[in-house]
Every structure is written in C-alpha cells, then in structure tokens.
Symmetry: C2
Subunit: 151 residues, 2 copies
Amino acid sequence: MKPTPAPELIDHIGWDLWRVTEGWKRRFTTQMVARGFGWFGEARGNLVQHIGRNGIAQTALAAKAGMTKQAVQQHLDDLVRDGAVERVTDPDDARRKIIRFTALGFDAMTVANDVKRDIEDQFRQLIGAAAMDGLTDALRVLIAHQDDLQK
Amino acid sequence: MKPTPAPELIDHIGWDLWRVTEGWKRRFTTQMVARGFGWFGEARGNLVQHIGRNGIAQTALAAKAGMTKQAVQQHLDDLVRDGAVERVTDPDDARRKIIRFTALGFDAMTVANDVKRDIEDQFRQLIGAAAMDGLTDALRVLIAHQDDLQK
DNA sequence: CATAATTGTCAAGCAACTTGACGATAATCT
DNA sequence: AGATTATCGTCAAGTTGCTTGACAATTATG
C-alpha cells in the first residue's frame, strides 16, 4: 500500500563529477600499482605533481598543493623513505630544504604521465574527440572562475 | 649541467576533474552551512542521498553507498544525534533497523536540492547551456562505462 | 532442530589530514 | 650593531572518514 516510489534524489552534476573523478583516480592508482609504482598513491600523486624539475621548498609546495606544511612533511617523509625524492638544504637559506626528485622519482613521473595519457585516450574513445574537447574546455572554464563563485 | 630528460607535468583531465569536483563540494558545504544545515557535511551528504522516502536498512544503505556497514553506522550515529534520521526496528525482521528521515531530515534534503540546483545554474551560466548539456552527457557516458574500463 | 547466514554493534586501527608549539635561521627596524 | 619579528621545517597530538576483526541476536536453511 505504499506506492510513491517518488524521485526524491536529484541527479546533480556534482554527483556525476564525483563519480567520474573517483573512477579516474581508481584507474590511475590501479595502473601505477600494475607498473611497479604502488607507493605512488593517490594522495602522494596529488602532492608530487607540484614538485618541478628543479625542486621546490616544502612550504612553497604546501601552498601549491593547498595543504598545511605539516601534512606535506608527512607525505614527504614517506616519499623520502621510498626513495622518490630527497631533501637538500638550500645553500642560500639554511632554514629551507629543497625537495627534489631522485632518478626513481623521475621514473615514476614518466610512468605516471604515460598512465594519464592512456586514461585520457580511453575517455576520448568512449565519448568521441569532439566531446572530449568540449569536456576539457568546460572544465577549464569552470576552474578559471572557481574564485569568482567563492561565495 | 643537467642531463635530466625531465618529465614536466602534463595537464591531464583527471586533475581538471578533481579541481572542479572539489570546487563543487566546497561550494555545496559552504551553502549548507549558510542555510543552517552545517551538520550536513560532505560525507553525510554522500550517504544520505541513498536514503529513500520510505527508508532503508543499514546494510542495504552501505551497499548502495559503497561503504562498509560499520562506516555507515558511524555516520548514522551522528545523524541520529543531530535529529536528521531515526532508526526503527523492522517489524518483519527483528535484526533489521530501518533508517528513515525525520522532518528535519526532509528539510535538509529539500534545502540540499535547492543548493544543488543553484550551483548547477551557476555552472550553466558560466559555460553556456549547450556546453552544460555536453558536459552532463559526457559524464554520464563515462559513468555508464566505468566498469568496462575496470582493468 | 542443528547449523549456517545475516544484521547491527563494539572495538581497535589506519590514512590523510588538521591545529598548536617550538627551535633554528633570516630579515627588518630601530 | 643588537633586538625584535617573521619564516622554515619539525615534533606532538587530535580529528575525520573510513577500514578490518570479533560477536550476540535473530532469521533462514538443511
């Protein structure tokens, strides 16, 4: 006697975005594990992508990654332990320590880039080249205006 | 002298997706707080959207939300404490407890739906109606094929 | 009716953060 | 110059959102 299955759940863009993003992350992590870089997890990937070719100081890295310096430090402890990056004291400022990729770290980044391209290609195959371009453009515009709609 | 082949970071779709998704979540949470539903946080929102109008058992809810029943239980403890849902023992099965919205819970869902629509409208204004439709379609296709590209 | 499965629960632990406090160093200001 | 102020990295502890493991109560199955 209880009909009314009623659509109480709105299908919203945020939910769609979340699911696709989760799918992307899951695939990326799976692929990195499969290629022997299992220590290159999700959180570390998000951090490590801000380390440039020439290295970066921890605090600057934290700012770029949008995390506290303490959070960054904890991830870096692990990354140093796994041999992906190294901490070098800045000769110009004894307080500062520069984070730089090791050879292993560069390898991981190269593989990560390959994986990203692979996933992107599969996306493109699924929805078509035109839709893929549209998707990218739309996301870029939204990102560019992220701060405008802060409120 | 730098013989580094140096893989500089490529701009990938996953990063774009992540940033837009984060922006969406941040805005949603901010708006819910502003409208007096600060207890309706991000994790709870993801869970609560699977509670139907007629309620649902905890284990079934966990399956829908893709979490363990223990994780669900912990969120429900909070939601019960905040008066958003209630646990009712199923008359047909004394083991089972049905999770149902209270009046406050329904209010929260209504407000949440409004907020979602608002954000969606702002997105549409930014990128245009056509691009918004394309975005939604693209995301839906990718979601639909999520399992195909499991590997 | 004995055994197995399911439901919810208690407990402990882990990952990815956070805030707070602090010593070492560098920059700025009298 | 010296004294204050700011910055950098670090140690410690707490929070959130999950996880795995164990278990009693209840229902389903042989």
